[in-house]
Symmetry: C2
Subunit: 256 residues, 2 copies
């Protein structure tokens, strides 16, 4: 099987002109098949505020009412996605921007209302890995916005880490997928206050050990749970690194 | 050659929920190969106003400064385009939203500054008809936003009628293209105040005659010049009709 590099970058990197340019240069330099998944939450919050729409968050997740859905559709599907696509095309990377609705590549169900009503938020049900692989085989580089699609509800706001992990799983039948999460730190750190204490390699046993010793805590736990889930579903390798270190082989490598 | 129907709809139709739903139903009902080009100017003006950005127009064309470019990227490439794509996917039409940057399908040059500096506005240089035809051959329905792409400048704001005409020309080597411009009237009218005085068929000779008699004037002249240009470049037929009449075989048919 041929290799494919799937890079997920958070909003902060792609929303500032200089970090975006650096990222696009690094991403363009990656050889072989590749795809990009991006966030955009900071821009969405900023535009929503300018439009007089209050951003309500619960546990870091955005409550997406009808007006907020319009904002994230504009910002994720338009502003952020198309700037990345244009930036890559300027670098001769044949990028194609996609939401989950385009070609129906990411189908989701609207999240059921339990303690919290998240509104127009989608839980991914199915990624059309065949379709994405067919695009990749045509030399196309998918650039995916964090929006999924439900036939009943239309576009649904979806966490970008989840889009990345599910896309990696969907492509794993066709490619040896290396999923890279770009992050503000150089990797998973052994000591939170020491940016150079990157743990080079994490396996399930080491993960349990780090968790039990309180070394891996908080927001890193869902990230790693996501990573192990992707690996169990056929993704070859997950890397957690800093955006500016992309392609340098640094960061934390997660394998089974 | 197989037939392809390329429909251009203006902003007003796609920006109001009920007319959009009707249009999507009519468009979904068109059999065979098809593609859609949309505008979105009214939404762009509305969002720009909410964001405190003044919309400057010269002869009905938007002056596109850097802030306005962000707005049209959000609105055309995101809000309007993705709502259409999602609406079509809900109707089992395999839509793919595209700006000119996506797959580099519509390349343009930034308009030179003469009497007016239009800012980030693109004059179409080249449509990748091979790429679009290849998508269509895969059963994909392109949904195109009025944004073109320059390697030097990135995304550029571009008139939707022009995008439609140039796309039709680009596809004409691969398909027998019927280009339909949806319009607020039922077609080209013989008497401006009589909505039922549709001229059923216009040829170059008749066009000259209607112009000389003052029957065809104003904004209809560039539309028809565009139509004849498309026909001379291989497009089979141009139809000018009302959106609500789409697929009914009514309106004004323009041929050489």
């Amino acid at each position: 099987m041929e290799q494919l590099t799937l890079v997920k970058v958070g909003g902060k990197i792609v929303e500032e002109a200089d970090t975006l340019q650096a990222l696009l240069n690094d991403f363009a330099a990656i050889s072989g098949h590749k795809a990009l998944v991006h966030g955009g939450g900071r821009s969405a919050t900023r535009i929503a505020t300018l439009l007089g729409i209050e951003s309500k968050m619960v546990d870091g997740r955005r409550i997406t009412d009808a007006e907020t859905l319009k904002v994230v559709t504009m910002v994720y599907g338009g502003l952020v996605n198309k700037n990345i696509v244009a930036g890559l095309q300027s670098r001769s990377v044949n990028a194609l921007g996609l939401t989950g609705a385009d070609l129906g590549v990411i189908l989701s169900d609207k999240r059921p209302v339990k303690e919290v009503d998240y509104g127009f938020v989608g839980d991914v049900k199915q990624v059309d890995g065949d379709r994405l692989a067919s695009l990749v085989a045509q030399g196309i580089v998918p650039v995916m916005a964090p929006l999924s699609f439900s036939k009943q509800y239309g576009l649904l706001n979806t966490n970008a880490d989840t889009i990345a992990a599910e896309t990696a799983k969907g492509l794993a039948r066709h490619y040896e997928v290396n999923l890279t999460f770009c992050f503000e730190k150089k990797g998973v750190l052994e000591r939170e206050d020491d940016d150079d204490s990157v743990i080079p390699h994490i396996t399930p046993d080491l993960y349990e050990d780090f968790k039990s010793r309180g070394i891996i805590t908080g927001g890193m736990i869902p990230k790693l749970d996501n990573a192990f889930d992707a690996l169990r579903c056929g993704v070859s390798q997950v890397t957690i690194t800093k955006a500016s270190e992309l392609g340098k082989g640094t960061g934390t490598v997660v394998t089974l």
